[in-house]
Subunit: 199 residues, 4 copies
Amino acid sequence: MPRTREQNRRIREKRMDQILQAALQVYREKGYHGTEMGEIARRAELGRGLVYYYFKDKEDVFVTLITQTLNGWKEVMDGIMQSEQTVADKLSTALIRMCELASENPEITHFHQTIIRDTHVLFPDRYKEIDGYYEDAIWLPLRHLFKKGASSGELRVSPPVAERFYASILFGAVQGEKKIDRASIQEWVDVALYGMIQK
Amino acid sequence: MPRTREQNRRIREKRMDQILQAALQVYREKGYHGTEMGEIARRAELGRGLVYYYFKDKEDVFVTLITQTLNGWKEVMDGIMQSEQTVADKLSTALIRMCELASENPEITHFHQTIIRDTHVLFPDRYKEIDGYYEDAIWLPLRHLFKKGASSGELRVSPPVAERFYASILFGAVQGEKKIDRASIQEWVDVALYGMIQK
Amino acid sequence: MPRTREQNRRIREKRMDQILQAALQVYREKGYHGTEMGEIARRAELGRGLVYYYFKDKEDVFVTLITQTLNGWKEVMDGIMQSEQTVADKLSTALIRMCELASENPEITHFHQTIIRDTHVLFPDRYKEIDGYYEDAIWLPLRHLFKKGASSGELRVSPPVAERFYASILFGAVQGEKKIDRASIQEWVDVALYGMIQK
Amino acid sequence: MPRTREQNRRIREKRMDQILQAALQVYREKGYHGTEMGEIARRAELGRGLVYYYFKDKEDVFVTLITQTLNGWKEVMDGIMQSEQTVADKLSTALIRMCELASENPEITHFHQTIIRDTHVLFPDRYKEIDGYYEDAIWLPLRHLFKKGASSGELRVSPPVAERFYASILFGAVQGEKKIDRASIQEWVDVALYGMIQK
DNA sequence: GATGAATGAGTGTTCATTCAT
DNA sequence: CATGAATGAACACTCATTCAT
């Protein structure tokens, strides 16, 4: 008797997750090129071929890893954007939430921080698409705030500088091996915003 | 008739520079793994074997590239450290000078920014040594300032946060394709320091 | 309640035919190595494993395809051989009938024409057996005619040349994409039997 | 001291020839997919990677093999076309010369006969280009003759049928393992041109 | 100093086949 | 009878490195 559709769906979901988690682990240790598909399979305790059963190729594994987490982040950002707060508070909340997320998921954060720099080299055909995901999830909403804050006078810097600055702070929250600990997040964000926000 | 010692020295120097510049160019376009030794040779307009005559291996090419520029930066930093300024002014000057350097040499800056995150993956045997160069040239002197500034009350943040913050700002000065333009450096540094420095 | 023997037989037959037809289709488009077992299953709208339930392996699918049609052709040939005609007329009739069959079933004809050249490469263990089927169905009866025709003077060529020639004409009836149309078969056979050049 | 340009050129030429000959040999025994690049290298007594130094990929090896011999054949055909003969004599001469060539180079002939059927499957991107080479070298000149012969009454068949027929005869000259021997070529061509059946 | 031909270990990927359900 | 998840052997191709000249 064949498995039911539902059983298969569950198996697939579980397997894809195993593979993605294994890929993330290996990536952390060895980087993109050091990550062999065989090693991913081994860590996931699956056969070599199964990785290709679920993902088209190595690129697909990593691009999926990117998009999947971006979806989660997008939800967080959207929630904040729709809340009733001043621009400054939204920026602060967003920064705190993102730093918290980064702190809670250092592996995935490190993954994004490093892979984002290399998308155009690693995935020359898809890097525009991928950059688009980052834009949608994170930068478009923030950019809107920067503009609004600048014109209302809440922010003391021009939107482009604000954007660059915000990104720097975000990326700075996890550097190499050292993620920022929960207790320091508030201090970290304060430093950032004090320079940024009009008194 | 054979070449003189001096002639040979000059040739050596020129060749090594050709190779290093070629490596830097290709790295920008293709990343470390995308940079083939053959491509380096081709861009340098030299025979493939000659690269191995001047450098032990691929690792050696890139590590040399790292150390060579770090030496230049170290001199700049040392100059600032030995000057007669307040901690805040030294920090400001250093930040400005480093941002200027980054703005003037976007290629080499991008190279450092990206390679620094991967040293432990790319050069597992030498990454401690390499990190040491960065420490010596940049972080040791700065760390000294952070400590001094914290104890004197000039800085409103703890030294570890200060260090992380400073690094973030430095890295933020050149992001991907967009380097900061000279005119904006002052604004950039202001934003950073305004949050950082006790009023 | 379980199926009856007869129901099962019918299902079996239908399934095997689905698979064989699917295999033929894919073969036409992609050739032997381009034909994946999964693709066969997909085209037949069956589960992947079922193909292996009905056929031992890929080889078995294709060898079955060969033998099945050869059986049909053998009957045609046998009918002609047992008729009351001169050697020349039998040769002519056979050529016409075979060309008609080829014209009516271009897919299967193309399949035979191409696979026949590769049997020793594709099925090294069974190629003698397979060649035997071709011999039995087609060449043994024809060879008998060539010999008879040569000794009676009806044919102006030696049996080996006649055989080679006959084969060439048969193969020529379907070339690549262009099968011969029904209306041209007579002309085609005429040329073969009476030559290309007007006397 | 580096090798001179001329030395290198000679080495390259020799190597490419070694590889092409090895590929031809293996192809004969194993067919396209059975021909592993490693086996080609082994037969040519060269390192695995050198094959890729001289040829872009497996496809390139075999396409080069096709075009190289087609160039030779084209010259032969052109010579005949430019001669002073009747259409029938040109057709006869061409057929004889091509059959002789086929008989002298059974390996390469078998290669062409089999690969030509599979170009669209093996080289989906280049098969039009490849077919074009065949057209230029062989079929365009012949087609011209068929037309001329048909309108002058020298040929008793329509040009399309003549073309199909001629191709069949040409292909028939080498069938599987059995190439036609020199002595039989004349008989073979006679049958083709004057028919199988004695009048 | 200089060249580029030569090598082969290493890796991504495919696909026939098996098997738990 | 039926399904599709799972496996792994096999193979094309890349590229750092060596070496004869």
